[in-house]
């Protein structure tokens, strides 16, 4: 069987790009949060809750926009709870994050099961593609133009996050409370408030990520459907040294490896079926292999994970 090269390229690139917005939303959210000194390990729990919210609200209202806003509201609520306990009560961020993850993991499935005990659901209505009229253009039409607005938004978000952190005064304050909260405090910055805003922003981005996942990957909710992909974001921003553009690069290259092995398995078919799960490990092993290269240079914000007490 021969496979046309252009088909392979199209498939690989479109898979790469289709996955990327999820990692970009989550990555930018976690970067801003961690830059302020608050690591949110509950990100996958927040995503799962927004994901299940997206499905249920979409099914019930038939309006994907309402579903998106509901998902963001859900992410905001959980994010505010996380921020309160992390910043105000000063709990250990890692333990708290894992608690939020466990909660989201369990509760998302419980909510789903109560909403649809039989498992039968109405059809999902997705956001419209931006350039649907151009869908017939070869290669470009199938790779780029079938994406909905979220995909474009995620790219804009990378640029905005980079500009925000480096060029705006609030961005400077975010970095200041993560690097040296004491000095920032002395200069009149409200450390708790800035951290709260940064953490909440992060949570909203996890909401986008979860909602995008629901609209673009999976036709239905399943338990643990994100399957650790949220946690992978922590590794991505680590390699990217907490910088937006390198995170874009990390996400794209991770997804490229994923798309390549995925395409290889689908072309090779039954001959590699028994080792296909071994190939599934490749993107993660790729990230691991990068650690000795990029991990050396990575320097976390100095007060990451460290609660700040005024006075």
């Amino acid at each position: 069987m021969t496979v046309a090269l252009s088909d392979v390229v199209t498939a690989v690139l479109s898979t790469t790009l289709q996955l990327s917005p999820f990692y970009l939303f989550a990555g930018m959210g976690e970067i801003v949060s961690e830059k302020s000194g608050v690591a949110n390990l509950g990100l996958e729990g927040i995503m799962l809750m927004s994901l299940v919210t997206t499905f249920i609200v979409d099914y019930e209202t038939g309006d994907p926009w309402v579903a998106l806003f509901a998902a963001l509201a859900m992410a905001g609520i959980i994010g505010a709870v996380f921020a309160f306990f992390a910043i105000r009560v000063r709990l250990d961020q890692i333990a708290l994050g894992l608690a939020i993850y466990l909660f989201g993991l369990g509760f998302s499935f419980v909510v789903w099961n109560i909403a649809y005990p039989s498992g039968l659901t109405p059809g999902y209505i997705s956001l419209p593609p931006i350039f649907s009229d151009w869908g017939s253009v070869p290669i470009i039409g199938t790779i780029f133009l079938k994406q909905d607005i979220m995909a474009y938004l995620s790219i804009v978000l990378v640029v905005l996050t980079a500009l925000f952190l480096s060029r705006t005064s609030l961005g400077l304050r975010v970095r200041a409370v993560g690097e040296n909260p004491k000095a920032a405090d002395n200069m009149g910055v409200n450390v708790a408030k800035v951290r709260f805003l940064a953490t909440l922003f992060g949570a909203f981005m996890f909401g986008f990520a979860g909602s995008y996942f629901a609209g673009n990957f999976v036709p239905n909710f399943q338990t643990d459907i994100i399957a650790g992909r949220g946690f992978i974001v922590l590794a991505m921003i680590y390699f990217a040294n907490w910088k937006p553009y390198p995170t874009l690069f990390a996400a794209l290259s991770f997804n490229l490896v994923y798309a390549l092995q995925n395409e290889y398995i689908s072309i090779a078919g039954s001959t590699v079926a028994s080792v296909s799960t071994l190939f599934n490990m490749l993107p993660y092993v790729f990230l691991l292999a990068l650690i000795p290269v990029f991990g050396r240079k990575a320097r976390a914000p100095k007060f990451l994970l460290k609660p700040y007490r005024k006075g």
Partner: protein, 349 residues
């Protein structure tokens, strides 16, 4: 503010913990109400089914052993300031290695093979944690990131092993499941008829030995110093890489052993269902609730084993997904952490 006496402080901490656990249970009951279940039935199955139903006691002790073993390692690493989020991956590596030994070392006489399977599980967990340990010690890579990454890898690796190298040749349609271990390779009950295996006293013994080794020797000071102030440790001439390596590798081996106790003492076979248990994450709560104390963790492990089996049983009885246990445990964890914070603040105020 006056300082509490020891007894009062203990009482206060217990009250906070009880309150936190109550909150988690309340959340579970709310779910039951929404699902249209009966509260009375839910409560009685949550608290009584673990000891009332056939198999309940056995499951409690199976989980107790797993939680205790994994949490001992997590607590040990935490003393040195290291977060092992990867107990789940090390647990899977241990489970897989039991069958790797069983399949590929079948030429050994039975008693030796038996030992090889248990040892193999420990080595599996140890190898799985060796990666983050080396990356941390040699390259300064963050162990949280790497252990989390390896959990995902473990899942895929385990699935690969199940679908090929350790798959039972007899299964239809290539269904990924191993052979069932014959009774020769099952961990026996201490007293026939009472479903409590030798894994229970063995794990408690490991906990007690670790208690004497870790809490009662200078090692505790060394680990704590590395954990709390690496600079001080360096001045004091403590070898930071050595402390890190010892605690991390022990943690991995213990999590691998937990896998052996689950397979050889309860399930006797391995399929994909055992992969998504998330017990490795619950073990982190156990280690924190036990305040990283090698004996305290044992008490916490028993409690969480009981609550987990109770919640699973409640879910089945009233018809809600058993995943409700994770939601309840997440809430309990936030409450328990807050309680610990309040107790601590009162002491230092």
């Amino acid at each position: 503010m006056h300082q509490d006496t020891q007894g009062l402080r203990w009482l206060r901490a217990t009250a906070y913990n009880a309150f936190a656990v109550g909150l988690g249970i309340l959340a579970g009951l709310l779910v039951v109400v929404f699902a249209g279940g009966n509260i009375g039935v839910a409560l009685s199955s949550l608290f009584l089914n673990p000891i009332r139903l056939a198999g309940g006691v056995q499951q409690i002790f199976v989980l107790f052993v797993m939680f205790y073993s994994m949490a001992l390692g997590i607590g040990l690493a935490l003393k040195a300031g290291l977060w092992n989020i990867g107990a789940q991956g090390q647990l899977l590596a241990g489970m897989v290695m039991v069958f790797v030994a069983y399949t590929y070392m079948a030429f050994l006489p039975a008693p030796l093979l038996y030992a090889a399977m248990i040892l193999g599980a420990a080595i599996g967990g140890l190898l799985w944690i060796a990666v983050p340990t080396i990356l941390r010690v040699k390259f300064g890579a963050n162990e949280i990131v790497v252990t989390i990454l390896l959990n995902v890898v473990a899942f895929n690796f385990g699935f690969y092993m199940l679908s090929g190298p350790i798959k039972s040749p007899g299964t239809a349609l290539g269904f990924p499941i191993t052979k069932v271990l014959p009774s020769t390779f099952q961990i026996p009950n201490i007293v026939g008829g009472v479903p409590i295996t030798y894994a229970v006293p063995a794990t408690i013994a490991i906990g007690v030995i670790l208690y004497f080794l870790v809490e009662r020797t200078p090692f505790r000071v060394r680990a704590n110093t590395v954990g709390e102030s690496p600079e001080t440790a360096r001045y004091a001439g403590i070898s930071i890489p050595r402390v890190m390596t010892i605690t991390m590798l022990t943690a991995g081996a213990l999590a691998g052993l937990a896998g052996a106790t689950y397979i050889m003492g309860y399930r006797y076979e391995l399929d994909i269902g055992s992969f998504s248990s998330n017990y490795g994450l619950v073990a982190i709560i156990v280690a924190l609730v036990g305040r990283k104390h090698m004996l305290g963790i044992g008490i916490a492990a028993f409690f969480f084993a009981y609550i987990t089996i109770g919640a699973q049983s409640m879910a089945v009885t009233v018809g809600v997904p058993y995943y409700v246990e994770f939601a309840m445990e997440g809430i309990m964890m936030v409450g328990i952490l807050s309680g610990a914070y309040l107790t601590e603040r009162r002491r230092t105020a």
